[in-house]
């Protein structure tokens, strides 16, 4: 049959095209209504993944936000709130479509959530130009600066690495191997780590390695490279499924126990820790939160979260809980006329937040000035070791 050889190529093109096209599908539709009347519920958009590889993070963020609202009788700033959830999906396209729906169709007062850096970069102009505040509770690439309507209750992507650099430089008994997932957050984390690790006298074992994301499932070739490099410690950045694969294979190929592993806290955060099982024991991570922190705000948060959702709260849930808390304060401060603009103005003056992570406040870039902690995995749980540093100022 002439021309039959062309079919495999067409097959791949077709499949790829379909996969890409369907990834762009947004959420359902809800009827739109008018602006603020001074009373009645205010609408808050929650843009979190309800499907795809980030679904677990999206669940945590939704839970954290809803818990705060529930603890406050379904009211934020004295106003009854209606939470409109939209599916961010896995890609910037699906996130953009969902954000557009929240802003233009549902006409929400503010939006919170956003897991992926690609999404937040993609929706930046939408929020800036429509002057609707976005109080993000996870995604925060280093390149996102100079915005007026975008706030984040999480951290800037290079901070978890920055927090750990000096500590690892002092602890490691030789060169350190740097490896991370090959996307923006991975690069931000590794650069952040280097920015404090190298000045503190740390030495790297080889050039840093970025593994293709998300398709890398088998880390064996990279683990072989680490072994060959003679590194005395490893700093890695992985989250979600890749974190489970990396940690398990780190043990299976005999590196655990021989070469200590350091990472930003996502490596062992939330559900992934359960998946890693005892392979995660001894991993030391930096994070702005640990479920076993002893402050009063966390004592009101962590047990309530555990009894509501049956799992220890993660930093994702905590940051989303804080986003609700920030909005609670800002809506109250906005006074009688609650509009996106008045809430945004109030956000700038919201002051100290008494958070489960400890007290923090927004800096001029709209990201938190907050404490960072060192944690170690012991018997399947992240346990607090010490406070490392305060970053964000």
């Amino acid at each position: 049959m002439a021309g039959r050889f062309r079919r495999p190529v067409g097959l791949i093109a077709l499949t790829t095209g379909l996969l890409l096209a369907t990834a762009a599908c947004g959420g359902g539709s809800l009827k739109a209504d008018g602006g603020d009347t001074g009373e009645g519920p205010v609408k808050i958009g929650l843009l979190v993944p309800r499907s795809g590889i980030y679904k677990a993070l999206g669940d945590d963020m939704k839970n954290g936000f809803e818990l705060y609202a529930k603890q406050h009788g379904g009211r934020l700033g004295g106003r009854e709130v209606k939470i409109v959830v939209a599916d961010e999906g896995e890609s910037a396209e699906s996130g953009k479509a969902a954000a557009l729906k929240l802003v233009k169709q549902d006409r929400v007062l503010v939006v919170s959530g956003v897991v992926s850096s690609a999404t937040i970069n993609g929706v930046k102009d939408l929020f800036e130009s429509s002057k609707v505040p976005l109080v993000g509770s996870n995604a925060s690439p280093t390149t996102l600066t100079g915005t007026h309507y975008i706030w984040r209750t999480s951290y800037v992507n290079d901070e978890p690495g920055k927090a750990l650099g000096k500590y690892v430089a002092a602890k490691a008994q030789g060169p350190v191997f740097l490896i991370g997932a090959g996307y923006q957050a991975g690069k931000d984390e590794i650069e952040g780590f280097k920015s404090t690790f190298l000045p503190a006298g740390g030495k790297t074992a080889a050039a840093e390695v970025y593994t293709p994301f998300p398709q890398t499932k088998n880390f064996q070739p990279y683990l072989a490279q680490i072994e060959k490099s003679g590194a005395k410690a490893v700093f890695c950045f992985y989250a979600g499924g890749a974190a489970v694969d990396f940690v398990k294979q780190y043990r299976d190929f005999g590196l655990a126990g021989k070469i200590p592993l350091y990472a930003p806290g996502f490596l062992t955060e939330g559900g992934v820790l359960k998946g890693q099982g005892d392979a995660a024991d001894g991993i030391r991570t930096s994070m702005n939160y640990s479920a076993d922190l002893g402050n009063a705000a966390n004592k009101a948060f962590a047990p309530a979260y555990r009894s509501a959702y049956g799992a220890a709260p993660t930093t994702y849930a905590m940051a989303s809980y804080d986003a609700a808390q920030v909005l609670d304060k800002a809506i109250a401060a906005a006074g009688s006329k609650v509009t996106p603009q008045s809430v945004n103005d109030a956000l700038a003056k919201v002051g100290d937040i008494d958070s489960p992570r400890g007290t923090w406040h927004f800096n001029s870039d709209g990201t938190p000035v907050q404490p960072w902690y060192l944690r170690e995995v012991k018997q399947g749980a992240n346990s607090l070791t010490s406070e490392l540093v305060r970053l964000g100022g």
Binding site: R4, I12, L18, S51, P221, A224
Partner: protein, 292 residues
Amino acid sequence: MGGWLDSHLVSVVDGVAFGLLLFTLAVGLSLVFGLMDVLNLAHGTLYLAGAYVAYALSDGSLWALLLALVAGVAAGTLGGAALTLLTQPLARRGHLDQAVLTLGITFIAADLLAASFGGEVLPTDPPTALRGSADLLGHTYPIYRLVFIGVALAAAALVYLVFERSSLGALVRAAVADRDMVRALGVDTRKVLYGVFAFGAALAALGGVLGAPILGPGPGVDETVLVLSLVVVVVGGLGSVRGALVGALLIGQVQTLGVALLPEYAPFLLFGTMLAVLVVRPRGLLPSAVRT
């Protein structure tokens, strides 16, 4: 040479394990598409279903793995038969319709699986007896992967013998070469179609059960393995068991040894290899000799 082999031995062995895992997936896809002309993009879902079965049934004993194998193969066979039933009415309407239908099934199944198992990747532990690591000429290597290589090699040999050396395989190949003639001989060719489809699906589910400790079930895994097996099919050539095996082993090495040797080119190696093969041999390395 000895030193080179020593430092890359683990990568080579792991490439074989990974390649054989891809083979269990690709062979079904290749036969169904190459021989039956049905484009089944729900093939990755069958792997995912098998992997979830392994996760749900695993309790650390070998019996649980055996039970999961039986359950997985049964589920795969049923899934394959159901997919044949669904794609049959579209047989004359070209590949796009089949692709849209099977891709739709993929999304529905993925959402149902995510609803029942959650959004996390669920790495399944191998049975207690096969856990831990072995010493491979001075290198550490997981025992389960060694066992996997053995089992998957046996499965590959069995598939090869059945399709290329048995009368049953001859019947399938004959049905493809000239369906009307086989029908005239009194054979119900629909049964052959259902049989091949169900067999390929069962093999993918089997790969899922055995592969769960290596490539654990979670959202998105179905697409990952689908794309990898499509690449294997393109590289190996459509409709041949040997082609699928050679393609899978090659892609396995590219994904392990290739990445170890050229880490900075890791994102391009997979499709670079495919491109190179397509340029040199547009029909794949070992395409089916049945149809010309």
